[in-house]
């Protein structure tokens, strides 16, 4: 049987990939995908804990997270679409109308 710590290490790696992707990539769609990866890393941790703690709470939490992530994708892609109509780009570096 795979141990709990291997699941947690995998989930931490996925989460880090998501964070690094968010910070380094410039395409907004890819940045958004990195965020989804972070959420799924958390889901993996939830399911692994749920299995090893023998409690259902974690798995139920994952269902909520998936539903919320779907809603977030709808809103996020709609915002990206609206932005593309105005600025005709999905490059994060060109989001520079406001700076301090």
């Amino acid at each position: 049987m795979v141990s709990l710590s291997s699941y947690l290490i995998l989930s931490a790696i996925l989460f880090s990939v998501g964070v690094v992707g968010f910070l380094l990539r410039r395409n907004i769609i890819v940045i958004f995908m990195s965020i989804e990866l972070m959420l799924n890393a958390a889901n993996l941790a939830f399911v692994a804990f749920s299995r090893f703690l023998d409690s259902m709470d974690g798995q139920i939490f994952v269902f909520f997270v998936m539903a919320v992530a779907a809603a977030e994708a709808v809103v996020g892609l709609a915002i990206i679409m609206a932005m593309y109509r105005v600025k005709e780009t999905v490059n994060a570096d060109e989001m520079n109308l406001m700076k301090w």
């Binding site: 989460f15 965020i35 939490f61 977030e72 990206i80 105005v86 109308l97 406001m98």
Partner: protein, 484 residues
């Protein structure tokens, strides 16, 4: 198999239910009703808010769990719910004319505001981390859309995108933190976490500590505390001004409501581990907010940095963490709702399509032309700066005396110095209004009755809470009993 049907207790979420149903009916109405009937949508949403407010008042003093200990009804939640309902009502009142002027008179706007309010209310009454997460996402998703509501304006859509990307990023941290805390304690229930943590006080489980740190990141983002504040100025500047007003109060109050419940209740046995983090965050947040606000030329950006600084003051009260400290968070949030919404109300009224008047220099000489509006703005600026007899002064007084009482004298001194610094940029606007000659001709202002009502409520609230503070502080003290 033994199937236990959980207790539901609908009445405990009465205010949320009222707003949800109102929002759904209005959503339907905004699609099927005739254009003339659609004009009633803002007023119908006010009706729903008023009904929810009455329910909150009638529930005051009761305490109960609902939905299998997922949601809790207590005075603490009700106090925050009342703040959210006042915020929502004032935002709706201030938006009616503004949306018409800008040409975005759509019913969805009010529906989304109501759904955001529902999310915030659930966050305040969460008894489980699942509800904290769901409430947070409910209001965040609604506000991402609202920030980009003027969808033909590049600034609005850019602010929406920035808020969405950074908001979703911070949600990832919050969620991972919840996962680790679940792993360490075996439950997501706040009471369960409290019982687990208090049984083993000398606990050094790295999962729990990392999870706690990630939660601070997630909440810190929502309340705009340094170093998680980067989004605030850009989003506040670009979003429709009425939404900036809503955003500067609602999500901040909701963030603090859950922040306090999780840290001062569920994780309170670990206080020695997290209090120094909050100490550092409070100092950074106050100082950066006030120092950078001085350099701003755009009034919405200036208020964005001011809202960061105010989050810092509230963090000071959280560090104090005793009865007065916690009660002063609630008191300050109530005062802040009135004064900040009022200030944004004046900005909305003073700007119009084509002539936004968002630069601080646009306010020069305003008092000669509109003495009453200038006086109203001056009251809000005095209150934000913390000058008696306004609510802002008493709020800061309670916060800093709580910090001194709890032994954080250094923190209180830094706070008072910051507060003195902030007087400069708030009074600069007053000086501009009263002592400079106008740089240009002002167009005629035609305040809508709804806006006048909103400003009267805001002025009345700011002064009333400041002149009879003990009554409101007692209410706040009653409310925090659930956390102690």
């Amino acid at each position: 198999m033994n199937l236990v049907i959980p207790e539901i207790n609908w009445s405990a979420i009465g205010p949320e239910l009222t707003l949800s149903i109102t929002a759904m009916v209005l959503l339907l109405l905004s699609v099927v009703a005739s254009p003339t009937a659609r004009r009633a949508i803002p007023y119908l949403s006010l009706l729903g808010i008023a009904f929810a407010l009455l329910l909150c008042i009638s529930l005051w003093g009761k305490s109960a769990y609902a939905f299998n200990r997922m949601v809790v009804l207590d005075n603490y939640a009700l106090f925050f719910k009342i703040i959210f309902l006042i915020t929502t009502a004032l935002t709706v009142l201030m938006s009616i004319r503004y949306l018409k002027e800008q040409g975005y008179e759509h019913g969805e706007y009010y529906v989304l505001i109501l759904f955001a309010a529902v999310g915030m209310m659930f966050m305040a009454s969460a008894a489980d981390l699942i509800i904290v997460f769901l409430g947070l996402e409910t209001f965040s998703l609604a506000i991402y859309v609202l920030a980009g509501f003027f969808r033909a304006q590049p600034k609005s859509i850019e602010s929406s995108l920035k808020y969405f990307l950074l908001g979703a990023f911070s949600t990832g941290f919050l969620l991972y933190g919840i996962a680790l805390i679940y792993g360490a304690t075996g439950t997501t229930n706040l009471k369960g976490i409290y019982e687990f943590v208090s049984k083993a006080p000398a606990l050094t489980d790295p999962l729990l500590l990392i999870g706690m740190g990630l939660l601070i990141v997630g909440f810190g983002f929502k309340v705009a505390s340094v170093p998680f504040h980067m989004w605030t100025p850009d989003v506040y500047e670009g979003a429709p001004t009425s939404i900036t007003a809503f955003m500067s109060v609602g999500p901040k109050a909701a963030g603090f409501a859950a922040f306090l419940r999780v840290f001062l209740y569920a994780l309170s046995p670990l206080q020695t581990d997290w209090i120094w983090i909050l100490w550092v965050l409070a100092v950074l947040t106050m100082t950066l907010g006030n120092v950078v606000a001085i350099a701003q030329k755009n009034i919405k950006r200036m208020l964005a940095y001011s809202s960061i600084a105010h989050a810092g003051y509230i963090l000071v009260a959280m560090v104090a963490a005793d009865e007065l400290g916690t009660a002063s968070v609630l008191y300050y949030m109530l005062a802040y709702a009135f004064m900040n919404l009022g200030a944004f109300g004046v900005i909305i009224l003073f700007g119009r399509k084509g002539e936004e008047n968002v630069n601080i220099s646009d306010y020069s000489g305003m008092a000669a032309k509109y003495p009453l509006l200038a006086a109203v703005m001056a009251i809000f600026m005095f209150s934000l700066a913390g000058i008696p007899p306004t609510a802002g002064f008493v709020g800061k007084f309670y916060i800093f005396s709580a910090a001194v009482k709890a032994g954080y004298i250094g923190l209180a001194i830094i706070g008072v110095l910051n507060s003195a610094l902030s007087v400069y940029f708030y009074l600069r606007i007053t000086v501009m209004m009263y002592m400079r000659s106008p740089e240009k001709e002002f167009a005629k202002l035609e305040p809508s009755p709804a806006m006048v009502i909103a400003l009267i409520i805001a002025v009345f609230g700011t002064l009333q809470i400041g002149i009879t503070p003990s009554h409101y502080l007692n209410l706040a003290k009653q409310s925090i009993l659930a956390l102690m």
